[in-house]
Symmetry: C2
Subunit: 373 residues, 2 copies
């Protein structure tokens, strides 16, 4: 695929994407969902790219999850017509939802209270009820009496599609066992809520769960109909830090250039600051704090124990990880490096395009990405 | 000024700008620079907006500072021809610098080492030498023997414009006295470096210092020719937290909508997460931690002690500040609120436009802004 904006080497800082790693990550979860007998509804909040979306399902637009109406509009225009907007609906946004539905997009919203349900029912927009499976943020507990009340308001207008939950707290624990426990917690909360609705003579065709850690660790999804995950296409240091992937699976990095040194401090200055890397410090609470990112050479080989220790807007400071004992980096001004991101969602959001690593020593193709609401 | 994209009320989340406050902030620092007898070279890394740039100097494009070549290109196209690119130059970027210079832009770069100086001299691009006045990140100490060496390399190609420094550490202390001490430290470092160059028969016409805290607190800038500052146009909670401004001076906020509640936890859920607010937690290290931002009503009145306590990508969680004793917020779904940002540079970077608060109850005009490199 040749792109007119393709460049021999992008100016730095630039967001790089390793398509081969991405495809491997996509295939891994698609196979796992197949084995579990559930549909996969990938979340495109991280990718925000039509080119990435195309590669999720072998070229045919499939069901997706989005976090903004801007995503819904872009991906519908690109051929996706089965879309879940997975952020609690604000009533003021319903006209935009209806406009997409009027064009033939099966856009479904989520909600967790009666005020939202009444607005949605009045607008005749289908909705899923958000279930709280782990105290992470929104949602009704499966035993909350409001669940049936909300279900009834929706069903009176034929708007009840099902239930959904997201175990955001699974990010805080490490290892497959712990994530499998959270997957079971998600499953149980969603299935219990679905059964409660059905026991009240309400329909609940869709039972949707998912987060990247639980989607990979789930062993049995009886009663669940679909799985959602987003960051898995790219992975990042936060996911590597809880053993959902290895650093070698991380498909996204930021290309940067050495611009100076502070030898007395062991610092190497680079032209990727938080504007290029994001302010995300998601590994700060993990066992290994990766600063603002792990340093690799231009070819992506990890330079063990060198991290971006500090970041200003357009400056990064590379230093040796605390306690490590190698000599400071000694790389000439102009040397290119790659930085693995803490959090792919936050880092990608700082960029308006992906530069594809050349597979054959050729040019870097460009895939545009978008932001906004 | 009427804009075709102006709206009665923008969809949320949206970046709001209070033009009257901004103009007051702009005037305040312009007057202070006048009183000190130095030129002001505003930094546009925060604003990234032609409309904001126009209001800095009463409509006539004046000298500016930028943090990316994309900014240099956009602002040159908008009429600014005296531009300092204040991030250490990577040799690979010199062709883009030369291309702007060839079109008539007096674009000047900064550097702090001999490798950069040789590349810059070969390209015949004028440069300022970055001086380290406080150990913050880059720059040569004023007594570093490399200063004269770098100066000689530049001067051999007639490329030496002067010296510049930035007291980034002034952000870590509170109050006018402490900032005035940092301003004097900036002044002394830059003037000492200039004198060292002159004593070696090297020219140093420009002596440039500045950061928002020091620019406002400086009392005497003898020997300094120009002052730089950026975030002062908007201010933010970090600046308010160190008494450079009050919360009433903050010109930027994020409009958001209530989408739900978790009554048992005292949480109010809003549709502004870190994607709209940024991941910046710059107040975390200050005396008062403002979480992801201070909550105001739709008209901008601060709701004392309510902060965005936590943020996911598109969800914010409002809670009472720790230790405060009011009842939880009790606002219906659909209520609009405004959030004051920790760090205006980081929050603005998450948005592609400013929505101007209507001065007369009319529509929200839109000023576009840009990102990227």
């Amino acid at each position: 695929m040749t792109d007119p904006t393709a460049a021999a080497l992008p100016d730095t800082p630039a967001l790089l994407l390793d398509e081969a790693r991405m495809q491997r990550n996509i295939t891994r979860l698609a196979r796992h969902a197949d084995a579990l007998g559930v549909a996969l509804r990938p979340h495109l909040k991280t990718a925000k790219s039509i080119d990435v979306a195309r590669r999720l399902t072998g070229g045919t637009p499939g069901p997706i999850t989005v976090s903004t109406l801007a995503e819904a509009e872009v991906f519908f225009a690109a051929g996706h017509s089965d879309i879940l907007y997975a952020v609690g609906i604000a009533p003021q946004k319903l006209p935009r939802v209806q406009a997409l539905r009027d064009k033939g997009c099966d856009l479904v919203v989520i909600l967790d209270n009666a005020a939202q349900a009444r607005a949605v029912a009045e607008a005749a927009v289908p909705a899923m009820i958000e279930i709280d499976s782990d105290g992470h943020r929104g949602g009704l507990r499966p035993d909350d009496p409001a669940l049936v009340e909300v279900g009834r308001i929706l069903q009176a207008a034929q708007c009840l599609r099902g239930v959904m939950t997201h175990a955001g707290e699974s990010y805080t624990v490490r290892g497959r066992e712990a994530h499998a426990d959270f997957a079971e917690q998600e499953r149980k909360a969603a299935v219990t809520a679905a059964e409660t609705l059905r026991a009240a003579d309400l329909p609940c065709p869709v039972v949707s769960i998912g987060s990247t850690p639980t989607a990979h660790a789930a062993r049995d999804l009886s009663g669940v109909t679909e799985l959602r995950a987003g960051v898995y296409m790219f992975f990042d240091l936060v996911m590597a830090g809880i053993d959902v992937c290895s650093q070698d699976d991380i498909a996204m990095s930021v290309l940067t250039t050495v611009i100076g040194h502070q030898p007395a401090k062991g610092w190497t200055m680079i032209d990727a600051g938080w504007m290029a890397l994001s302010r995300d410090r998601g590994t700060a609470a993990q066992e290994v704090d990766q600063g603002y990112g792990v340093v690799c050479d231009e070819d992506g080989r990890v330079l063990t124990d060198y991290i971006v220790a500090s970041a200003n807007q357009e400056h990064g400071i590379i230093a040796l990880r605390e306690g490590a004992s190698q000599p400071p980096l000694d790389l000439p001004v102009g040397t290119r490096l790659r930085i693995l991101p803490n959090h792919a969602c936050a880092t990608a959001a700082q960029h308006d395009r992906y530069h594809l690593l050349p597979q054959d020593g050729g040019a870097f193709d460009v895939w545009p990405r978008f932001n906004g609401w």
